[in-house]
C-alpha cells in the first residue's frame, strides 16, 4: 500500500468559533491509489468539503489544519511553503468545484480562464501552445473548442461544469478532487458529466476523489467508498463490500435509506440529525443515532482499524 499517490494521515482541521474550537476533521486517515476512484460520502456537515479544502491547503481563517500529514507523491503538503503549495494546485492536484454555476469568473472568456492557470505555473509554453492545450481540454470534455471564446453567462449549466472540468484537467494533475461536481445538474447531464470525468481519468491516469452523498452515483462510478460522519472516517472499503456487507451501522443505515421501487412510499431514513460539532457525544460520535448502541460506545472512541484485508471501519461491534 506504499504506492499510494495521496496519503492522508491523522488529519485534524479545526475551526475557531466564539463557542470554542470545533474539529471539522478529526484524525482522518485514508489512502488514494494511482488511477483509483474513491468516493467520499456523508451527510451535510460531515466534513467532506473541509477535507477537500484541507488537502488543497485552502482552509481559511478561522479554520486551520491543526495536525496530521497529507503526502502527495512523497511530499508532505502540510510542510511546504505557501508558494510551493500554490504551484502544486492545478498542476499536481486539482479540484472540480461544487457550484459550477458560479465557479467561473464572469468577466473572462473560458479560454483565458483555462490558460491563466498554466501561465501562473511557468510551464514554459508559448501562448499558441497553451491555446491549443485549452482547445484540447475542451474537446476532452466533449465541448466544441469554439466555446473557449465564450463568456460563462453564454453557457448552460452542464457546459459550465464541463468547462470547469476542462480547467482542472488541463495540466494533467495526479489527483483530481471532484466536490459534488454534478449536484446542480439534472440527472441526464449528471450522467454525461460523470462519464466525461471517467473517460478523461482513464486517458490521463489520474486518481479521483469524488465527494457526494448520492449513493447511487457512487455505486456506478467509484472503486472504493469512504464514509464520513461528524468529521470522522467511519468506514472505508470497496463498493462491493460496502453495498453488500457494510461493517459499520452508519454505513448500513445510509444504504438502507436508499428508496427501493418495490417499496414505494416507504422511506427508511436515519432518525435524528447530525450532532453539532460543538457538542459531540462522548465515545463514538454516532452513538446517539445508532440502532446497535452498547455501553462502551458512550465511553470510548472506536479506532479506525483494518478488520479484513482492505476493509476499514471504526466500530466497537467489530472489536
Amino acid at each position: 500500500m506504499s504506492n499510494a499517490v495521496l496519503r492522508v494521515n491523522n488529519l485534524d482541521v479545526e475551526y475557531h468559533t466564539d463557542a470554542g474550537a470545533v474539529k471539522a476533521n478529526n484524525h482522518v486517515t485514508f489512502e488514494l491509489r494511482p488511477k483509483e476512484r474513491l468516493g467520499l460520502v456523508g451527510e451535510s456537515g460531515s466534513g467532506k468539503s473541509t477535507l477537500a479544502l484541507a488537502i488543497l491547503r485552502m482552509i481559511r481563517p478561522p479554520g486551520k489544519i491543526a495536525g496530521g500529514e497529507v503526502w502527495l507523491d512523497g511530499v508532505d503538503l502540510t510542510k511546504i511553503s505557501d508558494e510551493e503549495m500554490r504551484r502544486m494546485r492545478g498542476n499536481e492536484i486539482s479540484m472540480v468545484p461544487q457550484g459550477a454555476m458560479n465557479s467561473l469568473n464572469p468577466v473572462m472568456r473560458i479560454e483565458d480562464q483555462i490558460i491563466d492557470g498554466m501561465v501562473d505555473h511557468n510551464l514554459g509554453l508559448s501562448r499558441s501552445v497553451m491555446k491549443e492545450m485549452a482547445a484540447e481540454a475542451l474537446r476532452a470534455v466533449d465541448l466544441d473548442p469554439k466555446v473557449g471564446r465564450s463568456y460563462p453567462h453564454e453557457l448552460s449549466g452542464g457546459m459550465k461544469q464541463r468547462a470547469c472540468i476542462a480547467i482542472s484537467i488541463v495540466m494533467t494533475p495526479k489527483v483530481i478532487i471532484a466536490d459534488e461536481p454534478t449536484s446542480a445538474l439534472d440527472v441526464v447531464t449528471q450522467r454525461q458529466v460523470m462519464q466525461t470525468i471517467g473517460k478523461i481519468q482513464d486517458q490521463m491516469g489520474s486518481a479521483v476523489i469524488l465527494i457526494g452523498h448520492d449513493m447511487g452515483l457512487m455505486a456506478q462510478f467509484v472503486d472504493r467508498i469512504a464514509v464520513m460522519y461528524a468529521g470522522r472516517m467511519m468506514e472505508l472499503g470497496t463498493v462491493k463490500d460496502i453495498f453488500t456487507d457494510a461493517l459499520h451501522p452508519y454505513t448500513q443505515a445510509l444504504i438502507d435509506s436508499l428508496p427501493v421501487l418495490a417499496n414505494r412510499g416507504i422511506f427508511n431514513g436515519l432518525p435524528g440529525i447530525t450532532p453539532s460539532l460543538l457538542d459531540l457525544p462522548t465515545g463514538c460520535v454516532f452513538n446517539t443515532r445508532c440502532s446497535k448502541v452498547m455501553d462502551i460506545c458512550t465511553q470510548k472512541v472506536p479506532p479506525l482499524r483494518e478488520h479484513a484485508p482492505g476493509r476499514f471501519a471504526a466500530c466497537h461491534l467489530l472489536e
Binding site: 494546485r89 464572469p106 491563466d116
Partner: protein, 334 residues
Amino acid sequence: MSFSYVVRRILLVFLVIWSAATLNFFIPKITPRNPIREKLLEQASRGGYIPPGFEDMVQSYEKRFGLDQPVWKQYLTYLNEMAHFNLGYSISNFPKTVPELIGQSIWWTIGLLSVTTILTFLIGTLLGALMAWQKSSFVIRNILPGILVLSAVPSFIVGLLLIYFVAFKWKLLPLGGAYDATKLPVFNASFVLEIIRYATLPALAFILTTAGGWAIGMRGMMVTVQGEDYMTFGEAKGLKDWRLFYKYAVRNALLPQVTGLAIAFSYIVGGSVLVEVIFRYPGLGTLLANAIRQLDYFLIYGIVFILTVAIGIAMFIIDMIYPLLDPRIAYEGN
C-alpha cells in the same frame, strides 16, 4: 454591443438632459425675488438716490431679458434657446454673456476636479480593495475607523483646517486663488508649476474627504466577491496572488465603482462649490455660488445646463465602456 443598445442609451441621455433642464428652469423661479430690481437698486444706492423713472427702467430691462412674459412662454423660449446652446446675457455681469463667464472659469474647475476625482477614485478604490483582501498586512486591514472619520467630515472643514495650518501657520502653500494674481500670467513651465502649487490644497481637501467613500464601497464589494465560488476555484487552480486580486476580485468588484465614477463626475461642480469658495478658486463652483446669490437666472441656467450636458455625455461614455468591463451587460433586453 448591439445597435439598439446604443440608440437606447442616446435616447436616455436626451431624456436626462431635458428633465434636468426643466427642473433647472422652475426651481429658481420659486423665489419671489426680482434680480433686475435688486441689481438696479444696488447701482442706484451707490449713486445715493433713486432716480425718477426707476420702475420704467426695471420694466424695460425685464422686457429685454424676456422676464415680463408668462412663465410657460418663458419656459418654451428657454428650451428653444438651450437647444441651440444660446445661453444669453448675464444679469449680474451685464453686458457680459453667459458663455463668456463660463469660459473664463470652466477650465479651472475641470482642471482641478477631473484630476482630483480620478485620483480620488484610484486611491480610494485601491485602498478599499486592499482593506478587504485577506492577505493584506494587518495595518491596511484595520484602517477602517480612520477612513470612516475622514469621510464623515465635510470637505470645507478639512479645507479650512488645511488653510489654517498648511497655508497660514506653516506658510507651505498659498492661501487661495488659482495663481499669483500680482503677476501677469505667462504660459510657461513655471506657471504650470505655480498652478499645481495653488491647486494642491483644494485638491487635498477634496481627496481626503472623498477617498474614504470610494474605499468603503470597494471594501464592501470585495468582501462579497471574495465569497464567490470563482475565487475558491481560482485559488484551487493555483493562480498567483496578484492575478486572483486584480483579475478575479478587483475586476469584478470594480463594476459598481465605475457607475459611481460617472455619478462622481456630476459632483465635479456641485460638490465642490464650498471648496472653491473657501479657497477663492476662480472656477465654475464659485461662479455658480455668486450666480445663485444674485439670482442671475441666465447664468444659473447656463452653468447647470452645461453641467447637465457634460454629465449626460459622461454617463453615455460610461455606458459604452460598461459592456467592455462586464460582458453580461450588452445582452440585457435581448
